[in-house]
């Protein structure tokens, strides 16, 4: 009997043109050595890693280049042996198109490994030891967001009922997980066993869409005989690979608002990440390469390639047979959630699953945007059950209060609403902008709060000082009064007054009034 509760998630798109067959015709291409590697210190979410090498230093393959700094940051390692040639801001693959600090490495061509801390028998190693290896290996989620794997796995004793392996790969065109499962299912199965041991997870579910029968077959061969381990193949629907959607689909449960999958006993990892865990633990290799799909109608030879992190996109494309003439855009990621690259010299990073070369301008895109007619097609397809038409209205009105009321921040930016909009409104673009603006407002508010606190603190300090001074004065006065009863001092004062009169002053300044001046 199945342990699963297959259930649909709300909305989504069925029957998207997938174009996956473009890139599954040939085996994964072997690693190649680019002329240089550019490694952004931030590889996804979180803070930049802190460089531990200097310009000019020679490094070995797998050597630590930058260490994690802060809770959401990941370590960065040398993808090959060579010399560090620069640590400076460069253009990086990020939707903002802004430069960020990178380490540039010029390969020496020897590809010489440093020392690799592999675990001989991970399944009998204590979980803390495995976790330490994963932290050190700089693993980040390879599915898209690049969330540090070590953070996801740091369950700190909380019970994990289900280890959910995300092999949905729901975006059109992308096939890197599909090909990985077809070719390296045994290694993935080892990764699954390590993770299950690490998390003490009761059940393992590998969830995939039914458009990958070869991959599912390979996985089921590799997982045969493992207890409490199932492969779930569900109907293809975008965005089934969204973490929350996949959990609902596979387990019939929703992750509570503001919570984590762990709150309902689930840890969800991308299948590529599972493979990377296996490589880190059993081969001692940090995350220095990944599989990237190079595809689209602008790619001469669409396929999947093992690529060193830091490889410039243009070198990857050239290695993959080059682009056809008249490529209109180069997108990193899928067509639904990816972003256009500012130029093709930006590097492949840990989250780069696809380089999509699109030749044709989508004809309908050239139609003008029309007013929203509130038809609700967007709400019907929204996997978060939002009301995109209301969010659009309030995003245009810049009404952040209403936007938060309609749960703007639950939007996963999957693009389903924009895809179905008959008025051709770029809805997701509005939501991204609105989110950015609200975050900025909140930051400004926080800054203003700090400034206000400082002002209040200063005022309080000044008040305290004033009070102290007043107390001092009072004490002095009291002391003077005591002195005032002294006849000797009175005589002296009288003499001074007399002397002042003589020099023409009307009144002698008293000791008190002088003291009162601030």
């Amino acid at each position: 009997m199945s342990l699963l509760h297959e259930q649909d998630f709300h909305g989504g798109l069925r029957g998207l043109p997938e174009h996956k067959e473009l890139s599954t015709g040939q085996p994964i291409g072997e690693l190649f050595m680019p002329s240089r590697l550019v490694l952004p210190l931030c590889q996804g979410v979180g803070a930049e890693a802190e460089p531990v090498v200097t310009v000019g230093e020679r490094v070995l393959k797998g050597q630590l280049l930058a260490q994690a700094k802060g809770s959401l940051s990941t370590a960065l390692h040398a993808p090959t042996s060579g010399q560090v040639s620069a640590i400076e801001p460069r253009l990086v693959p990020h939707p903002s198109g802004l430069p960020a600090r990178c380490i540039e490495l010029v390969p020496d061509g020897e590809d010489r490994w440093g020392e690799l801390p592999r675990l001989a028998d991970p399944l009998s190693s204590p979980p803390e030891v495995i976790q330490a290896v994963i932290v050190a290996a700089g693993l980040a989620g390879l599915g898209g967001a690049g969330f540090p794997t070590a953070v996801k796995l740091g369950v700190q004793g909380r019970p994990v009922k289900t280890l959910l392996i995300n092999a949905a790969e729901c975006e059109p065109y992308i096939t890197c997980d599909d090909m990985l499962m077809r070719e390296r299912a045994a290694a993935i199965a080892e990764g699954i066993q390590i993770l299950r041991h690490l998390l003490a997870a009761g059940q393992v579910v590998v969830a995939t869409e039914d458009n990958k029968p070869e991959a599912a077959a390979a996985m089921s061969r590799a997982l045969a005989g493992l207890p409490e381990c199932e492969i779930l193949s569900f109907p293809t629907a975008y965005p089934s690979g969204g973490e929350k959607q996949l959990i609902e689909l596979a387990l019939g449960k929703q992750v509570p608002y503001g919570g984590l999958p762990l709150d309902i006993g689930v840890v969800c990892l991308n299948v590529g990440t599972v493979y990377a865990v296996r490589q880190a633990v059993m081969a001692g290799e940090p995350l220095i390469s990944r599989i990237v799909t190079v595809t689209g109608d602008g790619a001469n030879s669409p396929g999947n390639y093992e690529v060193l992190i830091g490889t410039p996109v243009n070198e990857l494309v050239a290695h993959a047979g080059g682009a056809t003439d008249g490529v209109e855009r180069c997108i990193m990621g899928g067509p639904m959630m990816g972003f256009m690259l500012p130029n093709d010299r930006v590097p492949v990073i840990k989250t780069t699953n696809c380089v999509l070369l699109m030749q044709t301008e989508v004809p309908a895109v050239q139609q003008p945007t029309m007013p929203c007619i509130r038809c609700g097609a967007c709400a019907d397809v929204c996997p978060a059950s939002l009301l995109p038409q209301q969010l659009y209205w309030y995003a245009r009105a810049e009404n952040s209060e209403k936007l938060e009321h309609y749960q703007l921040f639950d939007c996963i930016e999957c693009g389903c609403c924009s895809y179905v909009c008959p008025s051709r409104i770029p809805l997701v673009q509005y939501y991204r902008a609105a989110k950015g603006e609200i975050v900025e407002q909140q930051a400004a508010r926080a800054a203003a709060d700090i400034a206000r606190q400082r002002t209040e603190f200063r005022a309080a300090r000044l008040a305290a000082e004033k009070q102290q001074r007043a107390e001092r004065v009072a004490k002095k006065k009291a002391a003077l009064k005591e002195q005032g009863s002294n006849p000797e001092a009175d005589a002296k004062k009288a003499k001074i007054a007399e002397a002042m009169k003589r020099v023409g002053k009307l009144e002698a300044p008293s000791a008190e009034s002088a003291d009162e001046q601030p």
């Binding site: 939707p95 992750v255 509570p256 029309m370 007013p371 509130r374 609700g376 019907d380 059950s385 749960q407």
Partner: protein, 344 residues
């Protein structure tokens, strides 16, 4: 013509024009049956309303300094014109059609900001203005062709609509018209004492609704099912409307079958069916969440029954729709869907 700045870079190929064309396509069976049952007059009034509507829209877009082509070609004016004329008697004078269309397009739509911004259904707003202003013209409904000795042809229709030939067409028109089934029912029940007697009082009644009219209603239902199948509309509003109306009619019919006609009569008479599938489903002026749409549709259904049974007019679809249009902001406020992961 801008390039999309951010994802998605795939295009679903949906367009407003496509949606409006689907609605017009879904009305084709009703038009065919209408012409068969009541003569070709409806085609003339529809063409007149469409031409007037496009001209008025173009003028208003020019005045409002909006681009002409995208809005004229989106098809929304054609839908408004078709729905308005289907609500009017088929041999109504041309100036009635023109005034109604002008009000719908200029006032109810463009003065509120054009497509997407009108709180009231433009066709129904235009219809209600006509109903209140020209009650005589609006109640001169043609008898079905099957009840006429001499069926109305194209030339007769043109003459009557454009008033060619002085008073003769008006006299001729009087000979061609008769009370609608809803009107007949409303007037005759108190006079004759029972639904049975009222049904027997006039040949205008058909098997379930009105003679001839029930066929048109069947064609609306067919068109509505097509819209559901093509996912142009969701089921919530039409089902809620028909259930709301049917339940009210059923309840009172059970209480006193002699005074209250059965639910099928209500569903297949008047504008209930076109209202359910084509008018109340106008997304601009309807509630926006599916839960809200259920309330909105049911409210219209109940109100249609109240107006038909106790109100001053034989049918109440237009008033019911406009009244529920007013409640839309309130309904929307209280019926947001449960967002993923949030407790209800």
């Amino acid at each position: 013509m801008s390039k999309v700045a951010s994802s998605p870079y795939l295009d679903g190929g949906y367009s407003l024009r496509g949606v409006m064309l689907q609605v017009l396509l879904a009305l084709v069976p009703a038009y065919l049956v209408y012409v068969w049952q009541f003569g070709p007059g409806i085609l003339i009034t529809t063409l007149l309303a469409m031409t007037t509507g496009l001209a008025a829209e173009a003028l208003m877009l020019r005045v409002r300094q909006r681009p002409l082509w995208p809005f004229l070609s989106d098809g929304s004016v054609l839908v408004t014109a078709a729905l308005l004329t289907l609500a009017l008697p088929p041999l109504v004078p041309w100036w009635v059609v023109v005034i109604g269309t002008l009000f719908a397009v200029v006032v109810a739509k463009q003065l509120y900001g054009g497509l997407g911004y009108n709180p009231f259904n433009p066709a129904m707003a235009g219809y209600v203005v006509l109903l209140i202003s020209f009650p005589l013209e609006l109640t001169r409904w043609s008898a079905p062709q099957s009840l006429l000795a001499d069926p109305v042809g194209l030339v007769d229709s043109l003459n009557m609509i454009f008033g060619v030939g002085g008073t003769a067409p008006v006299l001729a028109l009087d000979a061609l018209t008769m009370a609608t089934p809803l009107d007949q029912m409303k007037v005759q029940i108190p006079l004759l004492g029972s639904v049975e007697a009222a049904l027997a009082s006039s040949p205008v009644f058909g098997a379930i609704g009105g003679q001839g009219g029930e066929w048109v209603v069947g064609a609306y239902l067919l068109g509505g099912l097509y819209l559901l199948w093509r996912r142009v509309i969701n089921w919530h509003i039409p089902v809620a409307l028909l259930v709301g109306l049917g339940l009210m009619a059923g309840l009172f019919h059970l209480l006193d079958a002699a005074r209250y006609p059965d639910p099928l009569f209500h569903l297949f008479s008047g504008a209930a069916m076109i209202g359910a599938f084509f008018i109340a489903t106008d997304p601009v002026s309807a509630a926006t969440s599916n839960r809200g749409r259920l309330i909105y549709g049911a409210g219209i259904g109940v109100m249609i029954y109240l107006i038909r049974t106790w109100g001053g007019y034989p049918d109440g679809v237009a008033f019911a729709v406009l009244l529920m249009n007013m409640l839309v902001p309130l309904i929307d406020y209280y019926t947001p869907p449960r967002v993923y992961g949030h407790s209800s």
